[in-house]
Amino acid sequence: MPHVFEKYSEFIPEFPLFREALLGPLPVHFRINLLKISPQNLLPLLEDKGIQLGKSMEGDDTLYHAWNLDSPGNLLEYALGYIHPQAFTSCLASKALSPGEGAYVLDMCASPGGKTSHMSQLMNGSGLIVANELYPSRQIPLGNTLERLGVMNAVITGYQAQQFPMHQRFDFILADVPCSGEGRFRKLSDGYRYRETPRKEALPRLQKKIVLRGFDLLKEKGEMLYATCTYNPEENEGVVDFLLNHRDAKLLPIDLGIDHEPGILQWRDSKYDRELEKAARFYPHHTNSVGFFMARIVRL
């Protein structure tokens, strides 16, 4: 098939396998919500229903693939907030940032709330998360998710992320920014076409504003995770490189024990800071999940 991502073949390893991965369906993946139930109590309930489960990664009892489940949202366990359907790589973002108990956290673009609630879980329901979402129509699903999952340590605000007020600084910031979403693409049918939109070209400008404001909102030694679900280097390395050129920032390694590629150092005419090697690119043929980019940034 003529491939829209052919232009990335120079840096995506094993490109034929990458293309092949996009032909299959995205497997159902969910997170067990420790704010409401333990894996020991939940797993028997799901297994009683004949759901075939596979642990997503070693050392984490909350992340599972459900191989024979089409619609996890139709389970009673979903309604009761025991599980949250969430792409595996999306779950890795909260784990990469890993805010500790009692932390003060900002989620700059929080809806629909999967990562916000995951961070609440990692914080054991302590501390405080400011879950920011500009659009009121997206604040509704955000609020619903947080309520269903029993998140009590979050407040919702409605600022433009790039203009979030500079009143106080945060220990941890998640900047899961609006992106072109290339990583979510799967060729679902012959009639399905990936479309380039004019909006995509405007995204890096917005992303650079958000990453700068996020960095300025960090406390000293505070950490920010910049994340997108796209392969486009202009939205990934290009944005983080812009931050490194304009602020006293460094990158930290991302070591989750999951197969990933480092950030790239060159794309077309652009050369990026060597720090970008510490960023992580997650590809669907390695993780069987959504493509993701993450950079863990620290304020010196």
Partner: protein
């Protein structure tokens, strides 16, 4: 929650649209805990818990009442399934129990998935755990 921040209330200067989890609402003369609050803390309750079968839940979900002993005190009870899942509240009055769980949250489909092929019983009164 905010007391744990020694530098003061961190969000005091932000325009906040929603705070935490709604815990209670006033319903007539009762202060009623919300379903989400009950789902989190209900397991800690030592009384007023009412255990029901999946069939009984299906019946409640369809809008019908369950028969309960006439001497049960009027008021709210915590509904839980036989495997311990806390569902939300029911309201007992004069020998019948009515679900207070918002129907939009638990869809009928979820219950049918739970017990395929079963028919709600008219006679099952549920079981009181305390």
């Amino acid at each position: 929650m905010v007391r744990s921040f020694p530098e003061g209330v961190p969000v005091a200067r932000l325009k906040v649209t929603k705070v935490g989890l709604k815990a209670f609402r006033q319903v007539g003369s009762f202060v009623k805990p919300t379903t989400h609050l009950i789902q989190i803390f209900g397991h800690a309750a030592t009384k007023s818990r009412f255990r029901i079968t999946k069939d009984a839940l299906l019946k409640l979900h369809s809008g019908r009442d369950l028969h309960v002993p006439d001497d049960m005190e009027k008021g709210y009870v915590i509904l839980e399934l036989e495997q311990g899942q806390i569902l939300g509240l029911g309201f007992v009055n004069k020998g019948s129990l009515r679900s207070q769980i918002p129907r939009k949250e638990i869809k009928k489909l979820m219950l049918e998935t739970e017990s395929p092929g079963t028919v709600p019983s008219d006679t099952h009164p549920g079981r009181i755990t305390d």
